[in-house]
């Protein structure tokens, strides 16, 4: 199965988008709603499933059903270049963070990533689900029981919140990670959980009862700011949701006076 080779460029620093260059006849698969712009000659085609299934109606139905489980749409959009020359299409990341380009053939053809992380890929990359089968990890690992699996040998782009950290784990090397910070890893990496160890830490450290542990060999990618954490902070300080706008740092503003008076209404 010939993958389309795509050239790409990532723009921006903290709120990025990726621009993909398509040769005539080439195509890219995008997450529904992620497309930012496309040039003349790029045709948009919405397909049931992820566009990689060849197995008739039921194959497509299965593919689409799996996508539904990962919390994505039943349909994906394929952008193919019907023009004469090179054309560009761009996909933007939906929240502050970094876009991670992965060449799937360099890591063995498969990438496991958190659900919702997928942004776009070369056509031919199949988007599947990978069930987290270790019950403890599914319950307490921060990523749930359903993860996304990208298969193929082309480029795939996933996005992460905050700053992205890429780490190579040597065989047997273990990294303890706060739950929710795991973005993606090679399937050779063992994703497990570990009890924080002390009851005092479990209750007061704010890290929860468990760490996620990643054991090598292989590459792992971590995000510094899971979207849920950002969302919690925003909700906590949103006046509409009952939060308070403290901590702004201005003496005259709501920071000190508002804080002293205890109310900003």
């Amino acid at each position: 199965m010939g993958m389309d080779v795509v050239d790409y460029e990532i723009f921006g620093t903290e709120m990025q988008y990726v621009e993909i260059e398509l040769d005539p006849g080439e195509a890219a698969v995008g997450e529904a709603g992620a497309m930012m712009y496309m040039q003349d000659g790029v045709q948009m085609d919405t397909v049931f499933g992820d566009g990689s299934q060849q197995g008739g109606f039921f194959g497509k139905l299965l593919g689409a059903g799996k996508r539904l489980i990962t919390g994505e749409g039943l349909f994906t959009t394929i952008f193919h270049n019907e023009g004469k020359g090179k054309r560009r299409v761009a996909f933007a990341s939906p929240y502050p963070g970094k876009i991670l380009p992965v060449k799937l053939d360099e890591i063995g053809g498969t990438l496991i990533c958190q659900k919702d992380a997928f942004l776009c890929a070369a056509k031919g990359v199949s988007l599947g689900i990978a069930f987290q089968k270790k019950l403890g990890t599914g319950l307490f690992g921060g990523e749930g029981f359903i993860m996304q699996k990208l298969d193929g040998d082309g480029m795939a782009f996933v996005h992460a919140g905050g700053t992205l950290m890429e780490k190579v784990l040597a065989p047997g090397e273990t990294l303890r990670v706060d739950t929710g910070c795991v973005v993606a890893f090679q399937p050779t990496v063992d994703f497990d959980i570990q009890y924080v160890g002390k009851i005092k830490s479990a209750i007061f450290s704010g890290e929860g009862l468990f760490f996620a542990t990643l054991r090598g060999p292989g590459k792992v990618w971590l995000q510094s700011l899971p979207l849920s954490r950002l969302a919690n902070r925003i909700i906590a300080s949103a006046p509409a949701a009952g939060g308070r706008s403290t901590g702004e740092g201005s003496l005259l503003g709501a920071g000190l006076l508002g804080g002293l008076l205890g109310s900003d209404e």
Partner: protein
């Protein structure tokens, strides 16, 4: 030369994501790995299930340069590795396979439990529907008769608000005289009332409260007809039908609320409840017919009166459906069944010594 199997090699001098490689077990039980950049030998590799979901097989070893691992991912390669593995590694390979199976098993078990939890309310609902009569019977058996009598008092108080109930007088005495022999051996203390209502109706509240409408007495041609209706109503009371209906209704409402996660008591629950009441009633009516007939025979009252009166009710149904039959669509069927059973009976029935004309005269004028 033994079979080679494909995998991914990780090591200190290799790219972090590993490189494709093939390996085979040599005659000395050592692992020989060939990759693009050369060849390696592992004398005593550590064997473990590893990777995402413990689905892969990791063969790792240490040397002066650092730690290395050869990772078998695909099913085919795994099988080739296991088949060709030397005997000294067999135990650890089996342990790794077992570890992987345990993860799979616990995952499947987890799903089964989850599915069961999700389906439990629905299963309970289904079981309840199938066994509702038995369940209600079981619950009702545990309700003492005193409680039932108290419930009867409540119903009576409610009824008094809606209609004038006579507790004494020739009509009540006549009803009592006809009814008492039919209640032989009852744990209830029967109370008899005549309601000042013109329609053809009679009903039994829980705990032995029997109310006969004046209209029914007026339209009866003989005391045996009244006895037939009373036998039917007493059978309802003795079989504790109203209690069973109530228990079923309450149980179903509670279950529907649990199944739908809705505790406000919605229209759906009401509809479901009415449905069971209807389904219950038809069966209960038939049961009451049979039991009533048995009571008549035991008291040696001519059961033909019962059939006659039911026919009268059925004829009446055309104009204004009597409440007694409102939930009984199969009245003809019931009459036919009664007639069949009565035809088989014979005996010297004792005539009822009731002066029906005097009773009718004593009724308040409509």
């Amino acid at each position: 030369m033994m079979d080679a199997f494909a995998g991914r090699l990780f090591g200190p001098d290799l790219p972090g994501a590993g490189v494709e490689a093939t390996a085979r077990w040599d005659d000395g039980g050592r692992l020989r790995i060939i990759h693009g950049g050369g060849e390696m030998t592992a004398a005593e590799p550590q064997i473990a299930a590893a990777g995402f979901n413990a689905a892969g097989l990791s063969l790792s070893w240490e040397d002066e340069a650092g730690s290395h691992a050869f990772f078998v991912e695909t099913e085919g390669a795994r099988a080739a590795c296991l088949a060709a593995a030397p005997a000294q590694h067999a135990a650890r390979l089996a342990a790794a396979t077992g570890q992987r199976r345990r993860v799979e098993r616990s995952f499947r078990l987890g799903w089964a439990v989850l599915l069961l939890l999700l389906l439990l309310p629905l299963l309970a609902l289904g079981a309840f529907f199938l066994a509702r009569d038995d369940l209600a019977g079981w619950v009702v058996r545990h309700i003492p008769y005193e409680q039932e009598a108290r419930l009867g008092d409540l119903t009576l108080a409610q009824t008094r608000l809606q209609m004038q109930l006579a507790e004494s007088g020739p009509a009540v005495e006549a009803v009592r005289a006809i009814g008492e022999p039919l209640t032989a051996g009852s744990p209830h203390r029967y109370r008899w009332f005549v309601a000042d209502r013109p329609d053809l109706n009679a009903f039994a509240a829980p705990g032995g409260v029997v109310v006969v409408h004046a209209g029914l007495l007026r339209s009866a041609d003989n005391a045996e007809e009244i006895a037939g209706v009373l036998a039917h109503e007493i059978a309802h009371a003795e079989l504790r039908h109203s209690l069973k209906t109530m228990v079923k209704g309450m149980g179903l409402r509670a279950l529907v609320a649990v199944a739908l996660g809705d505790f406000s008591g919605t229209a759906l629950a009401e509809a479901a409840k009415n449905l069971t009441e209807l389904g219950f009633s038809r069966e209960a009516e038939r049961e009451a017919d049979r039991d009533g007939l048995r009571r008549l025979v035991t008291a040696r009252i001519d059961p033909a009166g019962m059939v006659h009166f039911f026919e009268k009710l059925a004829k009446h149904q055309g104009a204004a459906p009597p409440a007694l039959l409102s939930t009984h669509p199969a009245i003809e069927e019931r009459i036919a069944e009664l007639r069949r059973e009565v035809a088989d009976l014979s005996g010297n029935w004792l005539p009822l010594a009731i002066d029906l004309t005097a009773v009718k005269a004593a009724l308040p004028t409509p």
